[in-house]
Symmetry: C2
Subunit: 476 residues, 2 copies
């Protein structure tokens, strides 16, 4: 890297410091005087816009509609569902005054909007003909966290929250799993992050849910990040909020409900899955700029002209491209574009032009390749596909190599001491064992995987007959 | 209308009641237990999404980037610019507790984000090379209003706020007017609402601005609605927030600043400009559904097939279309789709099919026309263009007929007594006269128009030499 370039901590020296360095130096975020909140800068927000576009398309294709609910929830409304309020009340921000007047009832800033959706659905759903209702909301929510980190844990964050009501338990469960798979496919196909699709234990599930499903991802350092959740609520909220409908036989029934959410946290997941000591590495399918063209030499007209000509050719094919012709050294420009994780760099100088070639540099492996100017479009398209695939496979192979099986506490202890990553171990289903593992090893149950979950091995904790295989790990 | 259909108040009987009836019965909004806030339902939100798409495209084409700032503003930060805090402090919501702990400093929920942008710009702008910065934010803001109405005045509303900083006064002023024209063109070309582009008086300008520009629109009942504003700040905030940069000569300079915003209020403007006693009337350029196809008769296969065939043909040309084949009477379906303001309805029954025709019904004039099934695509495309143009021209001609000139207080008095709409009258520029007019006639200055503003006539209030022509009127 050029001496002018802002350096970052090495990923293997101090992962936490490396992470915040990348967030700041890749111009994703900035801090402000609002403690615990972050500013999402244009480059970070452009990534979020692409995430929104991809998810929103998938939501609409599966029949969902967007709505907007109020930012505030009256205290009495939040209190209506017992488990829910217990889970959220300790971490909400309270509005007590409007202008100079004290409010007669406190309002919390929404930490999540189940209660508002319930009230609305109770109001608009009357008959089986009104079902299902498949709503989603894009908004920001607030949770008063004590310690915060950009994207991962922040007092305010951006997200979408889907809330649906259905006539039957089966339909609601189908929706819960459908949206879990929308999340899983999105993470794998677009963000190139391998996921484990699974179910949370009773201890780890969402406040008020019957079942919580999760897409769990593993970061470069082996730590788990819960990257999206989908909840099946049964009729618990329906009973608390009196959400009923008349069925075909004119009988009053409770609706069955789901909710599911994904947040700006997945930007953190992407950074910590793919990033390296040069900074961010973005999968082509989400990168706001897929190709940067860096003309080299003293701004010769012919080189500049060719650069813009290539840019036009790529743009016509729908490839987001930027020409970086700033009056800075090539080294500086290379380093800065690498910091921002742009998947492909095209380098072109006077001698390349003479030879009718340019150099393609790929961000994921940092490899270079000379290609003929005639083939540049085809080569770039091919390379973007290759990078996307390689990033996924590389992350998956790394993750798989960091999943360790254990059958006894001793094995678990030695794995945890020597390795980072997940431990896959049998569990009897008893909350006490789960708590004991957490106490003893500092790891929590990530999920019971949807595939190959059953086991006949003994519980890793108590030695009684095991029920499920569970992924255990440290979490963000 | 069918007897089953929900009826609304007549527009000419009780305009205010008609307005809220349309908001509710066209499924745009719902109320909740959060006083003064509204739920934006799927159909209302789909309109907002189209507005966002159109505006965002225009912002990006003019070089702007989106960012996201925190929801909260610490009291000390809000207090930094004197005029600004005086304008907003009386109407902000205050967060005083996070979880069970009292905060050491109160945070207000953003009523607008100038102060946060200023702090950020002070942090990231160092040199003339960093300028201009052209940022925009899509978010919700909160103002603790005493009386509220859907879309027009609500304690929380959705908007975009652009905030830019520039090296020179000239550039900042150019930006201010450029964005005013983006708003004006958007309102006229997309929402079919004629606008008056003008400048606010000192009395009516934004808290902290040097100049506020506005796009003023007139509703069906003659009342004014400020539909977008663009502010030139000079270096007032720059001095308060120490926003400086080194110029080409290495001298420290203050930046020059603008901000501009448009809100969900324009949905209200659209309702009140175009709506009628059948409900909403949407301009084709913004309608989420441009064409609804209503098959008539006992769901004969051939009719249904033809309906879906037409739908496919339209969809392929990018026209948003819906087939309404619900088991409801044609009258019910006609009325409900009219309530929702869908620009074109295609009616097709067994006899039409025999004759190889269908009926096109246009929402703006409620006129029908029989067309050959062979030409249906071309006819629909042509009709959508005609409706868009007609809606604009009709609104403009109505508005123009409701602008009344007055040269004396007596003329103003008689105009106000006999007519609704705007009064166009000369003004000397003295705030006292402006206050006197408001006191005496209950109308405020809407704006000094950008075109034909100068006058030599005497001030309508004091009789001294006039300076500007001013539009006066009642406002929402």
């Amino acid at each position: 890297m050029s001496g002018e370039m802002k350096e970052i901590t090495s990923r293997d020296v101090d992962f936490a410091k490396w992470y915040t360095d990348v967030c700041v130096k890749a111009d994703l975020i900035d801090y402000s005087s609002v403690k615990g909140c972050m500013i999402i800068r244009p480059y970070g927000y452009a990534i979020w816009e692409n995430i929104q576009k991809e998810l929103d398309k998938r939501f609409k294709e599966t029949g969902h509609e967007n709505v907007y609910m109020p930012l505030f929830i009256p205290e009495s409304l939040l209190n209506k569902e017992k488990d829910h309020v217990e889970g959220f009340a300790p971490e909400v921000a309270w509005v007590t005054h409007g202008g100079s007047e004290e409010l007669t009832e406190r309002l919390c800033v929404r930490p999540t909007s189940e209660t508002l959706f319930c009230e609305h659905y109770a109001n608009i759903v009357k008959s089986y003909r009104d079902l299902p209702k498949l709503y989603n909301q894009w908004c920001s929510v607030v949770r008063w966290e004590k310690t915060t980190r950009p994207f991962l844990r922040s007092r305010e964050f951006l997200w979408q929250e889907g809330h649906t009501v259905h006539a039957t338990k089966e339909e609601a469960m189908e929706e819960t799993l459908k949206m879990l798979n929308v999340y899983g496919d999105f993470l794998e196909d677009i963000l190139a992050i391998p996921v484990i699709r699974g179910k949370k234990t009773e201890k780890e599930k969402f406040a008020g849910a019957v079942d919580t499903y999760t897409v769990e991802t593993m970061m470069y350092n082996g730590v788990a990040l819960q990257s999206g959740t989908s909840h099946y609520f049964g009729d618990g909220f329906a009973r608390a909020f009196n959400m009923t409908y008349l069925d075909r036989d004119n009988k009053l029934q409770y609706v069955h409900q789901t909710s599911w959410g994904m947040t700006t946290r997945v930007i953190g997941a992407m950074i910590m899955t793919h990033g390296d000591d040069h900074g961010l590495v973005l999968p082509p399918n989400i990168a706001p700029i897929k190709v940067v063209i860096v003309p080299i030499g003293k701004n010769e007209d012919a080189v500049l002209e060719k650069s813009y000509e290539i840019a036009r050719t790529l743009k016509e094919k729908g490839i987001d491209v930027k020409v970086d012709d700033r009056e800075k050294s090539p080294g500086f420009r290379f380093a800065e574009n690498e910091m921002k994780g742009i998947p492909v760099r095209i380098e072109i100088g006077p001698r390349d032009l003479e030879k009718n070639v340019c150099v393609l540099h790929r961000r994921d492996t940092l490899e270079k390749k000379e290609v003929s100017l005639e083939n540049v479009l085809e080569e770039v398209i091919q390379l973007l596909l290759e990078i996307q695939e390689n990033m996924y496979l590389r992350a998956k192979s790394r993750r798989d190599s960091m999943i360790h099986r254990a059958k006894t506490k001793e094995e678990m202890a030695s794995v945890i001491e020597e390795e980072s990553g997940f431990v896959l171990a049998p569990w009897c289903g008893d909350k006490k064992c789960e708590e004991e593992i957490k106490e003893e090893f500092g790891i929590t149950s990530r999920c019971i995987p949807l595939e190959d979950a059953l086991t006949t091995d003994d519980c890793i904790c108590c030695g009684r007959k095991g029920k499920f295989m569970v992924y255990w790990g440290k979490q963000y």
